[in-house]
Symmetry: C2
Subunit: 458 residues, 2 copies
């Protein structure tokens, strides 16, 4: 079927202020009805937040009673302490959750009130390759290649407020620890963003202004790698074969037949992808952004996407569908520089992977990166930070814990430990201490096992 060009009915300028950050990339079902926060629900949500806060206070009472116990304080003193604790926690949680000041003059015009202003990510830059080239030659202490490898910046993040679901922050913590481990082993820098850079491009769209901003601020970075907060590295040895993409500027997981034949809304996955730091990427971001501004623009764009992409439910425009649509409708302009990768799991959909970890450990080994030992396990649809996901909380949390342990085992091995099982937190010793620990380092340090050039963190 032919694809119509997308012409937004209304256009908006960039505002100041913030926009929400994506937690994960996508829901795969009709969860669209809950995407974003309809303005009519604001009060309802605030009221629910108050209820949450009060209950957290009750939880805190019980925890406090359990810790202080009988005999340490008199009961009336304990009651007074408990009461204070509830009040304090409630007060601070309410402040943390408070929205920005609606009277703030710096806040941009409300979406929909100024249809004559066009939204852009920023002023048009047309000579970025040249600017960057000049800068790099003038700044040899900030090279874009180190030991023959291009510098990569891994970008991820989560909202600045506590998760609606208390367990969510714990899994965000585990997810970033997982990324810290992988990046340390492979000499990759990390930016963990918790700021709303653009109010218009909120939610999953927030990665666009962030990627642009980081490209322009870090000319020494050759590749920007966006990764969702709900994606875990599960192959600690595998490295992206970047030389494969010397002629490309965007590397993204997907399936060409799903994309070109079926025009499926899940043909590509924007939960884990790499952009080269160059003019082409800035141009693609500019072309991608117009469906993003929240409100009528995003809603209308959603209808166009649902009408044109196979299997897409009805909901506002999301960044993934918009990119697919853009690459299909302007195929000649972009596709020669886009590498649709599926030889390894740059994005690995969790549901088909997490139950096979034991089998993998038995049959295979790290370094494969594919269905035998997935590079990345991505918990699409779980939304541990939010209060509504597409899968059961139980299944998601167990699965995330299993992915975490599966990866952690690969890191702990050098230190002589392993998790007892894939679900619990406890570890066991798998190797006795010795007086010659460097023999082990020579055998087991992952950085030494990477094929090709010997690795150096320097």
């Amino acid at each position: 079927m032919g694809l119509d060009s997308f012409t937004p009915q209304k256009r908006f300028s960039t505002g100041g202020g913030g926009g929400a950050l994506p937690i994960n990339n996508h829901d795969a079902t009709a969860a669209g009805r809950n995407r974003g926060v309809p303005r009519g629900r604001q009060l309802h949500k605030t009221f629910n937040n108050i209820k949450i806060t009060i209950l957290c206070g009750f939880v805190t009472i019980l925890v406090l009673r359990g810790t202080i116990g009988v005999g340490n304080l008199g009961s009336s003193e304990a009651d007074a302490v408990n009461q204070n604790l509830i009040e304090e926690t409630n007060r601070i949680l309410a402040e943390i959750r408070a929205d920005s000041d609606p009277n703030d003059p710096d806040e941009s015009t409300e979406t929909g009130l100024n249809p004559n202003v066009t939204y852009t990510l920023g002023p048009k830059i047309s000579d970025w390759d040249q600017q960057r080239k000049v800068w790099l030659s003038g700044n040899p202490e900030f090279p874009n290649f180190v030991n023959g490898k291009p510098r990569i910046l891994l970008v991820t993040g989560s909202p600045p407020k506590p998760c609606d679901n208390p367990i969510g922050d714990h899994y965000l913590l585990k997810a970033i620890k997982n990324k810290i481990d992988y990046c340390r082993l492979h000499g990759i820098e990390i930016v963990y963003n918790m700021a709303h850079l653009d109010k218009e491009l909120a939610g999953y769209w927030a990665k666009l202004p962030l990627i642009r901003r980081l490209m322009l601020s870090h000319p020494e970075i050759e590749w920007i790698w966006w990764m969702d907060s709900d994606a875990f590295f599960t192959d600690m040895v595998f490295e992206i074969p970047l030389s494969k993409y010397d002629q490309h500027n965007l590397v993204i997981h997907g399936y060409p037949d799903l994309l070109f034949e079926q025009k499926s809304w899940i043909a590509l996955n924007t939960g884990s992808f790499l952009f080269r730091n160059c003019q082409w990427s800035l141009d693609l971001l500019d072309a991608w952004a117009p469906m993003g501004p929240k409100g009528p623009v995003r809603d209308e764009a959603g209808k166009v996407l649902t009408a044109n992409l196979k299997g897409r439910p009805a909901f506002e425009a999301d960044d993934q569908s918009a990119l697919i649509y853009l690459l299909l409708s302007q195929k000649g302009r972009w596709m020669d520089k886009v590498f649709v990768e599926n030889q390894y799991y740059l994005h690995g959909y969790w549901a088909g992977l997490v139950d096979r970890y034991e089998e993998m450990m038995e049959k295979y080994h790290p370094g494969l990166g594919d269905e035998r030992w997935p590079f990345v396990t991505h918990f699409v649809g779980c939304k541990p930070c939010g209060s509504y996901g597409d899968y059961s909380v139980d299944r998601c949390l167990r699965s995330m814990q299993r992915a975490f342990n599966f990866a952690d085992n690969q890191v702990l091995k050098l230190y002589g430990f392993s998790h007892r099982g894939l679900l619990g937190p406890n570890i066991k010793r798998i190797r006795d201490e010795t007086t010659t620990p460097l023999e082990i380092v020579d055998q087991l340090d992952i950085r030494r096992s990477v094929t090709g050039k010997t690795k150096s963190k320097s």
Copy 2:
């Protein structure tokens, strides 16, 4: 007053399995009564955990009702979904909190049952300097100096289970994001530990086996920098003047007069300190560890420390008091290689700092690292992850948020943003976008402003 040598009544071997990790370094008051978990409380604690789990289920109901709202599901369907959600969350939380299997044959003998076995951190290594030297010369791709700077590994961590206080995980997340930012700007690697390496040395003692393990596994690392999870970097420009310590092997914040004249239990702070990767450090760790094994040894050691250190309340031995005691009682053996630093805030006690951030922003600038612009703000006694701290939850959370924003402003500046205030999550644009972004990079990139050699992440 003279100090007696410490001879443990009972000695224990290292076990397999795990030990709890320290969240922060110290309580400054009589909070010692809650340190560790007396065996008699185990049942009580389990029962309380069940209560917590049930209440978390109630919280989840309310959150779910708020999100699904009226009209999306029929009420009986909503009830069924809610019920399932409660059960699922309860089940998974209970499993996550479950203790290790008491029947596990790999678990070491219960403390106190084998008094004839001596505790050690591991087999005695006596030639680590030589082993390391040989390894480094044979592995030039893993140098211990990069661009003239010694390689540093920042080590921090938190327990593998969710925090008792739900807000705790959120602040652990913010604290690691803060550390990621500082370390990216200064070319420092991070290990975030969530494993119990040694069951005997649990709690704040867990840093000892961890530091040893990392030294022996990472010969390319010149300095291991332990930092508590409740410590935040608040000067993003300041760098530790490592050349000042060429003749030292331990750099720790403290006050010599408090140490030598007053023998105060807070003369030094083990929440942020650096160990050189060398034989001397292994020896000090070995000498430090004996007061640590939990149970009778730690309890008895606590009495010795309280008797000998000024101001120390009565509670089991903690690592900080034990180190102070060790350095005092074996002064001639160790002190020539210990640098007691107070020219900048390698550890900055939060209570005297957080209310002055606005004044600092008005009068001073990053890079000073001292009382004018503290290098590290350390939330001693707050315990956001636990359920009982020495200060009000309100005051602690507000203060931690202020420290986070104060630091984050220094990072966001390069990107053209700043927090609106020190408490809330929202940011504002402080600089318009331009078509020549690299002029800003030249002016503002922190890595370029570090005095001395130009910085390179490579």
